[in-house]
Amino acid sequence: MSGSLRRLPLNAGALVVFVLCVFPVYWMVLTAFKPTPDIQAETPVFLPTSLTLEHFSAAVKADGFWSFWRNSLLVTAGCVLLALAVALGSAFAVARLRWKGRRGFVLMVFIAQVAPWEALLIPMYVIARDTDMLDRLPTLTLVYFMITLPFTIVTLRSFLTAIPRELEEAAQVDGCTRAAAFRRVTLPLLAPGLLATSLFGFITAWNEFAFANMLIIKNQDDRTLPVWLSSFSNVFGTDWGATMAASTLFALPVLILFLVLQRRVAAGLAGGAVKG
């Protein structure tokens, strides 16, 4: 009794933190589903009695919505796949092979990981202009690839070093080539690491705003979702229902990926896939 009483302030604090974390997201989703009269009520409606899909249809019907979605998806997927492929090679070289210049390479990757990207907006713009890469989605893919690559290498490397190389060596003793040993033994064990890094790469690229805003100017159809969403007041005016519906649709892929992958990633880390 006294124990639970003593824990009361602690649990109350925990509840406050939970509410502060969840409320903005809850409010976004709620507003997206709320009928317009409820949104415009002088006293906010926290638990609606009826829900509507009209805001979602307004958002989806907005000019170019689907092409912005497609653009974002293409750029993000391209960046994640490219970064994963390139990072896998580098992470393998760093974690498994001994070579001259390895330390220098790792240091370079660490520095690149905290590169001040916002300071590179102007030269990137000038370079893209010079090379006729302005207003093109592949340019964004390349930039995002570079932003996510260092982090992907660092994370994959630590996942790789956590997998005992004796497993690979055992497969090699059993007659596998080194490449086959890597593919059949290490790669499956690396799956949680690959999922985790692609998840973070996806979030970074899906969210990126500054470069998308700087490098796609003339061709408005080639904009990505964050840029479009940031200019919502030009699109929806003060129609908060439609704005929140668009925000929800923008947040949805990331939240779904997080929910689906997070458990697997966590399970892979905690369960110690190597033990079994």
Binding site: N11, V22, R103, W117, E118, R157, T161, F209
Partner: protein, 341 residues
């Protein structure tokens, strides 16, 4: 982000070097003393084994060279040229020496923006670290069910895309029908009835601070929490049995354990908040009246609105120089922690 897996990584270092020579005789019966880097599949491919590592890292090196190093150099170059609209279209900018730096350092607005950026960074980082640490320590004490609840809330806030939550905050703080104004008016602060947050400098600044703190605390709290969970609970228990009070346990066990992670997080947050652009640009665009213009926003405005790419590049270079001071601290901390790279 790299925390949980970093520990086994360092442990695997000596193991790896110890087993490398042992795998030498396995691929071939050649009695010759094998060189240190073992080329296992080397005889099957045309590429000699010693070249493999370099081929594997080549795409990364090329990427960093062209997409990071070159733009950095180009930025420096532009900052030393007269580079405006005409040069952008025609090309052929001429050398200006340090004129741009002189111009920008003489500009009162630049110094004002720099001071504001430092203040912005200090306020945000202190709030983020204090709240993040508080939440992490709270998580450690909570019961299992409450902890799961709070953790899932943190993950939800952390996973929410920046621009989406930026838009939501604009709705929360909207002057008409915004929940925050309604709540403040309900609590008796009648002046907040239909208060226009984004039209007043300090208020707009406050909204941005709340937004960035809200977006950043979950990462700090979750990282510190997972650092705390790697500590065996016996350590805390035995300290308690030895008669250490709560404050003593915190000072003697929790704090020393958290210090390295804390240092890394502090540096990362300083960098992130200092560089913060998207939130500021999307919510206020640097306004009202420049009240929320930080260095990245300033550099962007100078380049895009005034077409003074040279001045913008000079401001960006100065931004990088300020950040490098923080980065040096960051790397010192990191090398101390990861003895072997």
């Amino acid at each position: 982000m790299t925390r949980p897996a970093a520990r086994p990584g360092t442990a695997a270092g000596p193991v790896a070097t110890a087993t490398a020579p042992a795998s030498g005789p396995a691929p071939g019966p050649t009695p010759a003393p094998a060189p240190a880097p073992v080329p296992p599949a080397g005889r099957r491919r045309a590429v000699p084994g010693a070249l493999w590592p370099y081929l594997l890292v080549a795409p990364t090196v090329v990427g960093i060279a062209f997409l990071l190093a070159y733009p950095l150099v180009r930025n420096l170059l532009i900052s030393l040229q007269h580079y405006g609209m005409a040069e952008l279209i025609r090309g052929g900018a001429d050398f200006a020496g340090l004129d741009n730096y002189r111009e920008i350092l003489r500009d009162g607005e630049f110094w004002q923006v720099t001071r504001r950026t430092l203040g912005w960074t200090a306020i945000n980082v202190v709030l983020i670290m204090v709240i993040g640490t508080g939440v992490a320590l709270m998580l450690q004490r909570l019961g299992k069910r409450m902890r799961t609840l709070v953790l899932s809330g943190l993950v939800l806030a952390w996973a929410s895309p920046v621009i989406a939550t930026t838009t939501v905050f604009q709705w929360l703080f909207s002057s008409r029908l915004g929940v925050v104004n309604w709540l403040l008016a309900r609590l008796g602060f009648d002046s907040f009835q239909d208060y226009s947050w984004l039209a007043h400098g300090p208020a707009a600044f406050t909204v941005l601070v709340l937004l960035v703190v809200w977006q950043s605390v979950p990462f700090v709290a979750i990282t510190l929490h997972s650092a705390l969970t790697t500590v065996p609970t016996e350590l805390f228990e035995s300290a308690r049995i030895d008669g250490a009070g709560g404050g003593r346990v915190f000072r003697s066990i929790t704090l020393p354990l958290l210090r390295p992670v804390f240092g890394l997080l502090l540096c990362l947050e300083v960098i992130w908040v200092f560089r913060c652009f998207a939130q500021i640009w999307a919510v206020t665009g640097g306004g009202p009246g420049g009240a929320t213009t930080t260095l990245p926003v300033y550099s962007y405005q100078v380049a895009r609105s005034l077409h003074r790419y040279d001045l913008g590049a000079a401001a960006a270079t100065l931004t990088v120089l300020i950040l490098i001071a923080v980065l040096v601290l960051y790397f010192r901390q990191m090398f101390r922690q990861e003895a072997e790279l």
